[in-house]
């Protein structure tokens, strides 16, 4: 259970410190947020933009990195015609301010004190909070065994591609392509199914903590697969992204 230092949440002003483009349409924004109280991997932030006539738009983004002083990072997917994502991925520049509220959420969280095996299942942009967990594991020197199954449309849609390709002790990464596969690898594009989770995931007997994140359809399908394979539903935590992230 997350006890928040300072009590209730309030808006803070952060400034853009760094930009990293993950794909041609997804950008990681690293913000400096003075007074940031820290956060756990899996949590998210609300981001609020204000136009000069006072019009406001608020969106929610998962944190992509574990706690790092006053630095927080989010990865934003540009949605064509969206109101906020084109601004954040194309206009928002280093030094610009933005309001941030958080950290938010205490349920969908992994802490390095947990030694159990972990199974991460990401659908598209659902990789973001799970990447924070992978990075938290690395930062803490945790030996908890991790497996990641990451479903994307095409190889060009993979976030954190370089980092995920680097071999890492105790972390197994499997990418499932749903529309187009890589030229050098066999395996027809397909939607994630029982066979993928069975082969690339932990057996239910290992009682892993499972984290599933992505669009509602993906989460429903994968959560049902996990239960069908014998995983205890209480060991399956889910976070659904809706279309509100535009």
């Amino acid at each position: 259970m997350v006890q928040r230092p300072g009590g209730r949440l309030a808006w803070r002003v952060g400034r853009l410190a760094e930009i990293h483009d993950e794909t041609p349409t997804a950008r990681t924004l690293v913000l400096d947020v003075p007074g940031w109280p820290g956060h756990a991997a899996g949590q998210h932030v609300d981001v609020r933009l204000t136009a000069d006539d006072g019009y406001r738009a608020t969106r929610t983004y998962s944190l992509a990195t574990p706690a790092d002083g006053e630095r927080v990072a989010i990865t934003v997917q540009r949605v064509p015609g969206g109101e906020v994502s084109p601004y954040l991925t194309e206009v928002f520049g280093v030094g610009d301010p933005v309001e941030v509220r958080g950290p938010v959420g205490g349920w969908f969280v992994w802490r390095p004190t947990a030694a159990d095996p972990v199974l991460l299942l990401a659908g598209g942009a659902g990789i973001v909070p799970l990447m924070a967990m992978i990075r938290a594991r690395r930062q803490a020197g945790s030996r908890a065994p991790f497996k990641l199954i990451y479903s994307v449309r095409t190889p060009e849609d993979v976030y954190y591609a370089g980092e995920l390709r680097r071999p890492e002790a105790g972390l197994d990464v499997t990418v499932v392509h749903t529309r187009k596969g890589p030229v050098d690898r066999p395996g027809e594009p397909h939607r994630i199914g029982v066979a993928d989770v069975n082969t690339a995931g932990w057996p239910a007997e290992f009682s892993p903590q499972c984290f599933v994140c992505g669009p509602t359809g993906f989460v429903e399908t994968v959560a049902n697969i996990l239960v069908a394979l014998g995983h205890d539903p209480r060991r399956v935590k889910t976070e659904r992204f809706g279309p509100s992230g535009s």
């Binding site: 259970m1 997350v2 006890q3 928040r4 009590g7 209730r8 949440l9 309030a10 998210h44 609300d46 929610t60 509220r101 958080g102 938010v104 959420g105 205490g106 349920w107 969908f108 509602t216 359809g217 935590k237 889910t238 976070e239 659904r240 992204f241 809706g242 279309p243 509100s244």
Partner: protein
């Protein structure tokens, strides 16, 4: 047909203005069917004038939250109780 709902994690930010503890891990009990769920597992329909969290079993409204200009309105009539985990006293 896939319905446009998310889950109770969406309540965390707005509820964070009201509660000093995170409520996504709190347990509700649906007055419609008696089912217990953590808030994170409720079905939330966010595309509305406010946040509506429904029971994943019977679709009854469990929690409603509206953020007005100078107040937050919280309707908990759809849950018979709210169990909030806390550190040992």
């Amino acid at each position: 047909m896939t319905e446009l709902f998310e889950d109770g994690n969406v309540l965390a930010g707005p509820a964070g203005e009201i509660f000093a503890v995170d409520i996504t891990g709190a347990t509700t009990r649906c007055v419609g069917c008696g089912r217990a769920d953590v808030v994170a597992a409720l079905r939330v329909y966010p595309h509305a004038p406010g946040l509506v969290a429904r029971c994943p079993g019977c679709d009854a409204v469990v929690v409603k939250l509206v953020r007005g200009p100078d107040a937050a309105w919280l309707d908990l009539t759809g849950t018979s109780s709210l169990r909030i985990p806390l550190p040992e006293a």
